[in-house]
């Protein structure tokens, strides 16, 4: 499985590099071209994908939505939201979110 996965990784790595490098290289030219009109689409597309991945990463299903797991997730998410607003530092928000999830796992 790993040999095929290596090729997949290389393609993803190369593609990601191109996504980062080409617009960076032509940044100033793009800002005055037709491509600028597409930037809002990609921004909204990126936000949509992150929002979707957030839900997927919670590993929810219909049974879990109405369980204690949902309460733990909601409390931990509230901690992340609160810390993101207060500290404006994703690192601290993630650490506190994990800590709150750990505590809720112990308590609930």
């Amino acid at each position: 499985m790993e040999s095929k996965s290596i090729i997949a990784c290389l393609i993803i790595g190369l593609g990601t590099f191109i996504f980062r490098f080409i617009p960076f290289l032509f940044g100033e030219k793009m800002s005055n071209s037709f491509f600028r009109g597409l930037l809002p689409f990609f921004k909204l597309s990126g936000i949509s994908i992150i929002a979707s991945l957030f839900i997927l990463s919670l590993n929810l299903n219909i049974n879990l939505i109405f369980s204690l797991y949902a309460i733990k997730v909601i409390l931990s998410c509230l901690a992340v939201i609160f810390c993101s607003i207060i500290f404006k530092n994703p690192g601290i928000s993630v650490l506190i979110g994990i800590f709150v999830f750990f505590v809720t796992n112990l308590v609930i």
Partner: protein, 239 residues
């Protein structure tokens, strides 16, 4: 000439020091990635390889998740690339502020969400001639944290399994939703709140119909179009 050379390395080291908030955030996530990749059936060396080549947290986890769910490799590649499309806006946005255009290929490789956020907020407070070296320092700190933590996570899989209670691993499993949420929060405003809500609804529908792995790509394409249809006018706005 010598002073200028020394000055650049001083700002490089300052960048490494300034990357500390990213290092704190990346460490548990990369550690979890290392653990998860072993559980997905990969070796510790391959886990490190993934982190070294991709250096893109969300798509790395998506890669693992989709392989575990049995998705085909072409589809997995497509999803991971679709997920990283958002990176195309970072370069043009940052290039407006970055006065020195050296080292662009190197700087592009390390331009993750968090690096972009930190650089965008602080780069103008540094002298023009050292901005690239400072940004490189940020990226090197972030990259080392990400790759080293991945390897530690992958190598310590057995230790975690044998000596740490399962509650520890369960708690680390929240690092991924926490990361996505922490990235999402600063992006929320009156316009994007609608599209995030739409993404949640569409993703729940996909989960309910057992099509969870297809949802990121579908919402990435459909949501901006749906948003345009229902809310109109965004196309000409400078979001």
């Amino acid at each position: 000439m010598h002073d200028s050379y020394r000055n650049k390395w001083i700002f490089f080291l300052k960048g490494v020091r300034d990357s500390f908030p990213i290092v704190i955030g990346y460490f548990p996530i990369a550690l979890t990635f290392g653990l998860s990749s072993i559980e997905a059936g990969f070796s510790s060396n391959f886990s490190l390889f993934i982190s070294m080549i991709m250096f893109a947290g969300a798509s790395q986890f998506a890669f693992l998740g989709m392989i575990e769910e049995g998705a085909t490799l072409p589809f997995t590649v497509l999803i991971c690339l679709a997920l990283n499309i958002r990176h195309i806006i970072y370069g043009p946005t940052l290039s407006v502020k970055l006065k020195e255009k050296k080292l662009l290929p190197l700087l592009s490789f390390g331009l993750t969400d968090e690096v972009f956020g930190l650089a965008f907020a602080n780069i103008e407070s540094h002298p023009k001639e050292v901005q690239s070296m400072w940004l490189l320092g940020i990226e090197v700190g972030a990259y080392l944290s990400w790759t080293i933590a991945t390897y530690i996570g992958a190598c310590s899989h057995e230790i975690v399994d044998n000596y740490f209670p399962s509650i520890f691993k369960e708690s680390l499993s929240f690092s991924l939703p926490a990361l996505f949420l922490a990235i999402l929060i600063p992006m929320i405003d009156r316009e994007t709140a609608w599209i995030i809500l739409l993404s949640f609804i569409v993703t729940f529908i996909f989960i309910a119909f057992g099509l969870a792995s297809y949802s990121p790509l579908c919402v990435g394409i459909l949501n901006p179009i749906l948003y345009m249809l229902f809310r109109g006018k965004w196309w000409n706005q400078n979001l």
